[in-house]
Amino acid sequence: MSTVTVNSAPSLPSGFTSDDFEVFLQSRVEPVWVTQRRRVAFELFQAKSAEELDPEEWKRIPARAFRPEKFSLTGKAAIGFDTAQLPLMQNRAEFEGAVVHVDGSATESRLTEQLAAKGVIFGDLATVLCQQADLLEPHFATKAVLPDTDRFAAWHGAFWTGGTVLFVPKGVQVDAPLYSLVALAQDGVADFSHTLVILEDGAEATLLEETASGSPDIAGLHVGAVELLVGKEARLRYVQLQNWNQKSWHFAHQCGRVEGNGSLQWTVGGLGSKLAHIHQDVHLDGRGAEAQVNGVTFAKDRQCLSYYTQQTHNAPDTRSDLLYKDVLTDESRVIWRGMIKVEPEAQKTDGYQRNDSLLLSPTSRCDAIPGLEIEADDVRCTHGATAGRVDVDQIFYAMCRGLTEHEAMHIIVQGFLQTVTDRIPVELVRETLDKAVEVKLGIGE
């Protein structure tokens, strides 16, 4: 049987063979060009499955226990599953638009009439691709996440199921956040969701997205993609909180592209999953483009969270600023490999990347590997990484003021995360992260 390991897989995983692919295609109702792209991606998936995964990339990632054949796509959401039970952002606010996917199928898709009247499109990808085929064709999987990137990107490109699309026309500003939930409710189901955000020139929007499992016991797989296309002078705030249960595998390619004077503020919360391996790239394509990347991760038990981030400066006068903060406990592991790339024409670039980790247990481990590849000569690029343990003196000091050891640990963790949470402009997200941190620390369970 095939397995995805560092070695090449002798055959495609069951459920994702060429026969399965043909059956899958027949179940889809979609434009011809979409099917065509799937076929191209499937051929790539076949070819790349026969090749070794990049050993340099995968040597740190404990994916040996991953058995893709244990997961399959399903055309149906779990019956009677109520996403309102999930203790997440959705119950904490009213949104002007929301898209919900369960087990790969859309179960809710709504947008206020006011926003629709302004030309804003917000809905589930499968439906919007049919309704707005011409609008999406130039953007979908052509600019940001390409199927020829690697085996997982190709796998996703062939088999993607649901996903969320946000399109904001030129100059339109959407003030209130929109919301997207991706949930898995059945055991052994794979989610291949695809998020596509297109902001035309001068548009503004905020999209809050989160993932969740229906129960702690179901095994899940996510092979996802996120594409964020930010036009000239457009401003996008995108938040993704990955909050699967600890029996889920999470593989994703996530990429944002920003045109001249556009701005992307991207916040990542890495909380759940057994193993997560995410490529998060930002490309600054036009003069004056900027991106701020904020990452908060909290790993416990035997979780392994891996983030490979890249900030690519393709144009002059561009700025990128990445700050990840990782909290680790038990036997968990966080891997962060960051890269700032500056192309020869991207003079006057200002690039920054930093990863700080706080280890709450002696058996947790963080690998932080910053990197720079600079081909322009007039730039300012800085990087840094720190790893520290909770200081026993801090705990004792706080206890001397009447805080329990647990409370002391909690405030120290919150304090550690403060510099990154200060950068998150949406209070709802800060609150949700705070709650998630409390749960991870075992408070309020």
């Binding site: 706080a398 001397c400 003021r401 805080l403 409370e407 002391a408 909690h410 304090g415 995360l417």
Partner: protein, 272 residues
Amino acid sequence: MSSILKITDLHIAVDGKPILKGVNLEVKQGEIHALMGPNGSGKSTLAYALAGHPKYEITGGDIEIDGASLNELDANERARLGMFLAFQYPVTIPGVRVADFLRHAVTNRRDPDRKEGENLMPMREFRQELRGRMNELGMDPEFARRYLNDGFSGGEKKRMEILQMAMLKPKFAILDETDSGLDSDAVKVVSEGLSSLAGPETGVLIITHHERLLEFNRPQFTHVMLAGRIVETGDASLAHELHANGYTTVRERHPAEAAEEQAEREETLATV
């Protein structure tokens, strides 16, 4: 009824090494005691042991408040009962605002049975009280928003300790060389703060080398430590004498402890 902190034949070991070898001391609420003694005599050990530092193992004797033993209680439980230690080297906790930290601390002190996650004291009430205390100590209200001791000067850190004491209203406060490392202006500020804030509700144990702190906070009792024991107790004039003449005469009066002190010094030197 005024509370009594009673220390009886207290023995403390650190990493198995005996440091305190039978300390006896009684402090009543409202009293001021000075604790003096040469370096290494065990003053800070007593302070940490009273506060409940896990490294300071009680190998004999008792620490009690009003007859109830603290021996088995951790630092947090002791703090909630009214024990307070002003640190010689206050600890920095980055990212934690002074106000947030103190609101937790004060709530737990006033509601000792509070469990984590239960309500904190009302923000408005807390802020008002904090502002009042800061004002009395001549502190910029901006301090409340700063991260705890992060980037504070030596004087600011010590003032922060006094502020915490004022907010927590402990029954017993131990000040571990709160005046060390401060210039005389800063010592004056801290001394005045202490004297105005430690009222009849607080018994104070001041560990110091300097007289300045005692000028504003005149002790009723002065204790001298040597080689892990309190060897003499007198009044404020003893503190004055020690400050003027050092510990030579004390050592002469207590040759056994002086010899022990000497032996320990030599042992320490030999291991370095």
